[in-house]
């Protein structure tokens, strides 16, 4: 019984114990040369039945420059082990590359995989030409919005491997439109065995964008027997930064309508070289070259007195690197006429220069008779009945030299918008107003001299008050009396409109009615007594407080 219980407990502990998932990986070869293919094998052992892993390619994020693809997985339905095989190509630069940790999604469990490190070293002996490889053919330069860029992926076989097929081409090209034009074409003989996939890129906005292309090629090893199924897949990936600009505005001709590339005017053809007056003929201008031929807007040809011109559509299929501009011409006059010249400008992205394409006119002999009058104005069907049709007066002959010399080089800013003009006028007006105001003020002062006199008297009175206070503090009674008398004389003179030196006690009594005469006598005697012989003398010194009060009273009157 005891043994049974012990074995039961052990069994329960075994069941309850947390099982650990074991993940191991192996890279073959351990250290790779730049661009060398390698194999990555990830072995998973778990405590549950795993089944097949799902969406592994979406989880794994190889570092920049490395191609990596799930090439197969070994799982058994009744096993808790799984093996995942990846095929990859090492980056072209030497260094240590880390595949970030990712999660393997099995049907019943998610198993994390720790980061995987790949060492790329030039010290590893590896001859690139022995194995199949992918090459991106794309010009390295600045591209232009609207340009047609032709590129290709060359899947080249090696000495030991041949490229059998390719599949799964994916592209991420923000700011571009990408179109595959030819897929899995054999390579030219000088490039050797392999396949070529051509594509066309068109930038649709300026800036720096990244073009990312990836896919898988199927390779066959030359050493394996011919009838064995030993094909292997090998991924490839390209990431390229592309700089896109707008076609420069400087020097851009007015008739440039978006043509970017190298073009040449091939030929001009007419459907009939001896038409009658009024008989439509077809004019076909053939443009050849490399560039965005499909995006070209056919140049407009205005009608004239010899031809009515209508745009037409071409029924013939256009060949690659060729574009037709087709117009319907209706001759209006008989005789030998030249077809209208067809011109437009193009931009060459290699030389970064604009150039002019011109299709030369060809001579056409028009038979028949001219109509009596060629009416250039068509009737407006919406016009009211009886309304006079508007006559097209036409444009006048240009005379660019006309215009008064005064207007040549006219400023781009009108006077109405010129700050300098209005601020200059404003300053002048302000100055004039200030001058006028000053003149009026001075005139008023000249007409009323008492204003200046009283102002001067107030100023002297204030000074005298300060000096008197100071003398009083020092105990200098003579100085006090001189200051007080001087202030009283000046103030009284301003009030009486008289000379200040001539003011006596009597004048002060007239200016300040009710002022005590003894106080004045004492002040005058104290101030000016030394000039004269000694008199009977006033009884004591003047009252200083009363004197100051008198001065303040005088100040308030001024």
């Amino acid at each position: 019984m005891r043994r049974f219980l012990a074995s039961t407990v052990l069994l329960l502990l075994g069941l309850l114990a947390r099982a650990e998932d074991r993940v191991s990986w192996e890279i073959t070869p351990r250290i790779t040369a730049p661009g060398q293919p390698f194999r990555l094998q990830i072995m998973v052992e778990s405590d549950v039945l795993l089944g097949g892993a799902q969406q592994v390619d979406k989880e794994i994020r190889p570092p920049r420059g490395m191609a990596l693809r799930l090439s197969g997985q070994l799982v058994r339905p009744d096993s808790n082990e799984a093996t995942l095989n990846f095929s990859g190509v090492a980056p072209d630069q030497e260094g240590e590359y880390v595949i970030p940790s990712f999660t393997l999604r099995f049907a019943r469990k998610l198993i994390p995989v720790t980061p995987i490190k790949l060492i790329v070293s030039k010290s590893v002996a590896y001859r690139r030409t022995t194995q199949a490889r992918a090459e991106l053919v794309l010009p390295e330069r600045t591209f232009y919005v609207g340009e047609l860029i032709r590129g290709a992926i060359h899947l080249r076989g090696g000495d030991d491997e041949t490229v059998v097929a390719s599949f799964g081409l994916e592209s991420v090209a923000e700011g571009f439109t990408l179109a595959v034009t030819a897929d899995r074409q054999p390579l030219s003989t000088e490039l050797g065995q392999g396949l070529r996939t051509s594509f066309e890129l068109t930038p649709i906005r300026e800036g720096t964008s990244e073009l990312s292309l990836r896919g898988t090629m199927l390779i066959h090893n030359a050493d394996t027997p011919a009838f064995s199924n030993s094909n292997r897949d090998r991924p490839f990936t390209f990431r390229r930064k592309l700089v896109v600009e707008h076609v420069p505005e400087r020097g851009r001709p007015a008739d440039w309508t978006g043509a970017i590339g190298a073009f040449s005017a091939e030929a001009v053809q007419v459907s009939k070289d001896r038409p009658e007056v009024g008989e439509p003929i077809r004019l076909r201008a053939i443009l050849t070259g490399t560039g965005n031929l499909d995006r070209l807007i056919p140049p407009e040809i205005p009608g004239n007195e010899s031809w009515d011109i209508l745009p037409a559509t071409e029924r013939r299929r256009q060949a690659e690197e060729q574009r037709f501009f087709v117009y319907t011409l209706v001759p209006r006059l008989p005789g030998k006429l030249l077809t209208p010249a067809l011109r437009f400008s193009t931009f060459d992205p290699l030389t970064k220069q604009f150039s002019r394409i011109e299709f030369k006119p060809i001579e056409v002999t028009v038979t028949g008779n001219a109509p009596a009058q060629v009416d250039l104005v068509t009737a407006d069907p919406a016009a009211p009945v009886g309304a006079k049709p508007q006559v097209a007066a036409g444009l006048a002959a240009p005379a660019p030299q006309r215009g008064a010399p005064l207007f040549r080089g006219a400023p781009t800013l009108s006077l109405a918008s010129s700050t300098a003009f209005w601020s200059g006028n404003g300053l002048l007006l302000t100055g004039l107003l200030a001058l006028t105001g000053a003149a009026l003020y001075l005139g008023y002062l000249a007409a009323h001299p008492e204003i200046r006199r009283r102002r001067r008297a107030r100023s002297i009175l204030r000074t005298a008050l300060r000096e008197a206070a100071s003398a009083r503090l020092r105990g200098d009674r003579a100085a006090f009396a001189k200051s007080a008398v001087r202030a009283l004389q000046v103030g009284a003179a301003a009030l009486l409109d008289a000379e200040e030196e001539a003011m006596t006690q009597g004048d002060l009594e007239r200016a300040l009615p009710g002022v005590p005469r003894p106080l004045l006598d004492k002040l005058f005697e104290r101030a000016y007594g030394e000039r004269f012989a000694e008199g009977p003398g006033a009884a004591g010194p003047p009252d200083e407080d009363e004197t100051l009060e008198l001065l303040r009273r005088l100040q308030s009157l001024l």
């Binding site: 007015a254 978006g258 036409g394």
Partner: protein, 253 residues
């Protein structure tokens, strides 16, 4: 007598020179129908030497021939701002209105009056009249003398001219505040918003009166009196003696 003979000789020489004037490359290109080359060369000349009414009118003709109605109307209208009697610009605008499908508001009486002189000439004349009148009032006061008879006459004359300048100034402002629609087939919107309800269609080359701007739009009144909002990038103001703006240069082909 000798002086008059010299004057006559100078006049004859200048007439002869005018007759023998060699056509410029731009004029030759225009005559041959290579309007794009004519536009390029006249534009270069304008950037180098400045614009004149004749040059802008010629440029307008070449732009019209290239089918760029908006640029042509801007050139012609600006030529008329520089010289209101420029015959090529007047003919071009008449042609555009009669056969080109463009519309232009009927000028008000003030605009017709203002077209006698250029806007800048009106401003200069009004400023001169103002200063003459002001100085006539101020100077005698500064000199403290009574105004003379001549002073009174000059003052009245200056004030009269100033009053006569007022409608010219108003009309000139109104003329230069118009704009030309530069985009083909745009809609007048009810509100100045991205999804404003379309009211009425205007087309490239139409002239509209402009009002206040708001939220990247400008309130405009069309030739047939419809009022609404257009995006600021869809119109170009006539004001300014420059070449038309290259609105479509950045666009991808």
């Amino acid at each position: 007598m000798r002086f008059f003979a010299c004057l006559l000789l100078c006049g004859m020489t200048s007439l002869g020179a005018a007759e023998e004037r060699v056509l410029s490359a731009a004029e030759t290109a225009y005559a041959k129908g290579d309007y794009a080359a004519a536009v390029e060369q006249w534009s270069d000349e304008a950037r180098r030497d400045g614009v004149s009414s004749g040059l802008l009118s010629a440029l307008g003709n070449a732009e019209w021939r290239l089918g760029r109605k908006g640029r042509a109307m801007v050139c012609w209208e600006r030529a008329l701002l520089l010289d209101p009697r420029e015959p090529v610009a007047l003919a071009g605008i008449r042609h555009a209105l009669a056969a080109g499908g463009t519309e232009r508001p009927v000028p008000t009486w003030a605009e017709t009056y203002a077209a006698i002189l250029t806007e800048d000439t009106w401003i200069l004349l009004a400023t001169a009249c103002f200063w003459v009148a002001t100085l006539c009032v101020v100077v005698p006061r500064l000199r403290r003398r009574s105004a003379s008879e001549w002073n009174h006459r000059t003052r009245v004359l200056a004030l009269t001219l100033l009053v006569l300048c007022a409608p010219g100034l108003w009309g000139g402002r109104s003329l230069s505040a118009r704009a030309v629609v530069r985009k083909a087939e745009v809609s007048l919107r009810l509100t100045p918003t991205l999804f404003g309800e379309p009211l009425n269609g205007v087309t490239e080359g139409d002239v509209v009166r402009t009002d206040r701007p708001l939220n990247g739009h400008v309130r405009v009144t069309t030739a047939n009196g419809k009022t609404g909002w257009l995006r600021a990038g869809e119109i170009e103001l006539i004001r300014g003696a420059t070449l038309p703006i290259d609105f479509d240069q950045k666009a991808a082909p």
